[in-house]
């Protein structure tokens, strides 16, 4: 196993554990205001300090991890659930009008600046975590559709697919039973990368007030709150920022590590 994989998996597991732990325990209650104890520096009774309402930042980071992971995970789920079948379909009907339609549709979604459309969606339907998920999820669909089609097309030329066709299997059955298992690794790696992009997108949307709404904790909103406090209490901005940075870095390293680990050809080349 490579160093990337170990560091990446370690960081990712750390944040997932923090998020999971927050369901049963956080050091303090994040909805309890403690104004006399506000803007405490890290290291005291509150390990990572307190914010302008005296809330414990470590507890908010734990709850925020939950929001980030939930939003990004569902957004990647939407992208996979719609994108992979579309990609399989396009590959199975390669060269047909349907293929052309799916791919042109993909190009179109790709051409839209995702952030602008996310803003439009939340402007019209209101700011909420659910709308943020939909906005981020839509832009994951073409990523997976394109990748699936690209990986599935060369597989369709292979002998084992020909054998399956001779056996009388339908295109749909071949796609599910033979194509899909052969592209799973690729999807896992891309899923990790999209997951990290989702975390960044969620943070950006909450930062501008279009993501999760109070009282739900979110890293992006912690940063928005910290903006006016950064000169008197830098930790309020540093801590959530490092949380995002480490989580995204961890997922990216995990993605790189998984790609090398899951692809035997690259492993052999390295030996």
């Amino acid at each position: 196993m490579s160093r990337n994989l170990i560091i990446g998996a370690g960081l990712s597991v750390l944040f997932i554990c923090l998020a999971a732990l927050s369901f049963i325990w956080t050091p303090y209650d994040i909805e309890a205001l403690d104004i006399p104890n506000k803007l405490q520096a890290p290291g005291g009774a509150n390990l990572l300090g307190t914010d302008h309402f005296g809330r414990d930042i470590l507890s908010m980071i734990m709850m925020g991890a939950r929001t980030s992971i939930a939003v990004a995970l569902v957004a990647v789920g939407i992208g996979m659930a719609l994108g992979i079948p579309l990609g399989l379909l396009a590959a199975a009907r390669h060269g047909s009008l349907l293929d052309e339609l799916i791919m042109r549709g993909n190009d179109l979604v790709f051409a839209f600046p995702s952030l602008v459309i996310a803003i439009l969606i939340t402007a019209v339907f209101g700011a909420s975590a659910v709308n943020a998920i939909i906005a981020i999820g839509i832009f994951n669909v073409p990523v997976f559709a394109r990748l699936t089609r690209g990986a599935a097309l060369p597989l369709w030329e292979r002998d084992f697919i020909l054998a399956a066709r001779v056996c009388g299997k339908s295109a749909a059955r071949i796609s599910v039973e033979h194509i899909l298992p052969n592209i799973t690794n690729l999807m896992i790696v891309q899923g990790t990368i999209q997951f990290s992009l989702g975390i960044l997108a969620e943070a950006a949307l909450s930062y501008i007030g279009l993501g999760a709404q109070p009282p739900t904790a979110s890293w992006g909103r912690m940063l928005a709150d910290a903006q006016t406090l950064v000169s008197i209490a830098p930790h309020t901005a540093l801590v959530p920022g490092f949380a995002i940075l480490l989580m995204v870095l961890g997922l990216n390293l995990l993605g790189d590590g998984l790609r090398d680990w899951l692809d035997p050809r690259i492993r052999v080349a390295r030996v």
């Binding site: 042109r104 190009d107 179109l108 051409a111 839209f112 600046p113 995702s114 952030l115 602008v116 459309i117 803003i119 439009l120 969606i121 402007a123 019209v124 990290s196 960044l200 943070a203 950006a204 930062y207 501008i208 940063l223 910290a226 903006q227 950064v230 000169s231 830098p234 901005a237 540093l238 959530p240 920022g241 995002i244 940075l245 480490l246 995204v248 870095l249 990216n252 390293l253």
Partner: protein
């Protein structure tokens, strides 16, 4: 080439048409009456009726759509409900912040990424390469608005080299550029990290090609082969990424403008969203999407002009 360009032009027009339909539809599907939505719950019935008439809500959807599109084509973006001024005027005031910011960031990102990528590729596996690649991993993972806050903390609050925000206008170009510097750095860094990685891997691909071996065999030094043959060919994929990045920078600028209180298109969108001024939101979003699609089209054409293989593929 002409056939290729015509093909791309057709898909450009289709893209723009579908984009306008989508944006129009999103505003259309607002639950209830858009006029009532914009004015909020306490609006008087006669105010709503006045806005309905102004937005043309008494006409059919199709008439309204074509009215909006022909207006856009003629540079008439409608009238803002909250500002009481033409949207085109609001946009032209603010585009002179957003556009220079995106271009400034694009230049910075290229200036950082090219040397870094070329240096890393030419010393593959060495300590310089490992350091640069590590730095790009960090650059990709940093949220740019947070990086912007850190820049403000260091260079505006502690060192006092720059102001923490605001824009003095273009009357004094030097001051204006100075106030766009921190935002441009914040925008450019993550893009530079991506670009440096693309530059490096594209260059490494080229260095493995036969023509580099030929160049070395005829007596060029490593450095000469790198600069005369590899870099030039490696630039093709890099240019595509630069084109795509322009759209990220323009859209990403929306958030960075919030951090630095810059009066650009981003702030206009947010003020319009909170004021529920959908006419402005709709037109600014369409303008941004339009710009991105046009830039991507231009990149495709430039790409095909440089690399004849692509024309055949299309």
């Amino acid at each position: 080439m002409i056939r290729y360009a015509l093909g791309r032009l057709t898909s450009l027009i289709i893209s723009l048409f579908v984009a306008s339909l989508v944006i129009f539809a999103v505003i259309e599907v607002i639950p209830g009456d858009p006029a009532a939505f914009m004015l909020g719950v306490n609006a008087q019935p006669d105010t709503i009726a006045a806005l309905r008439a102004e937005m043309g809500l008494d006409q059919s959807v199709i008439t309204r759509y074509f009215g909006w599109v022909t207006g856009l084509l003629q540079g008439d973006f409608g009238q803002s409900w909250t500002y009481k001024t033409p949207v085109a005027e609001l946009i032209s005031d603010r585009i002179w912040v957003s556009l220079p910011l995106a271009i400034y960031a694009l230049i910075l990102s290229t200036l950082i990424a090219f040397p870094a990528g070329i240096f890393a590729a030419s010393r593959r596996g060495g300590p310089g390469d490992v350091t640069i690649m590590g730095a790009t991993q960090l650059g990709v993972a940093i949220p740019n608005f947070w990086f912007a806050m850190i820049l403000v903390l260091i260079f505006a609050i502690n060192l006092r080299w720059f102001s923490a925000g605001g824009f003095p206008g273009w009357d004094n170009p030097l001051q204006a550029l100075k106030s766009l510097t921190l935002p441009a750095i914040a925008l450019a860094l993550p893009q530079a990290a991506i670009l440096a990685r693309v530059m490096r891997s594209s260059l490494l691909d080229m260095l493995g090609e036969d023509f580099i071996r030929t160049a070395r065999a005829k007596g060029l030094t490593r450095r000469q082969a790198l600069w005369r043959h590899a870099v030039r060919n490696a630039l093709i994929p890099v240019l595509t990424i630069i084109g795509l990045q322009f759209s990220f920078l323009l859209a990403g600028g929306i958030i960075i403008e919030q951090v630095f209180f810059l009066p650009g298109l981003g702030r206009l969108i947010f003020q319009s969203i909170s004021a529920r001024d959908l006419i402005v939101v709709e037109s600014v979003v369409m303008l941004l999407v339009f710009t991105v699609i046009i830039v991507n089209f231009a990149v495709d054409l430039a790409y095909a002009a440089v690399d004849p293989r692509l024309r055949a593929k299309a």
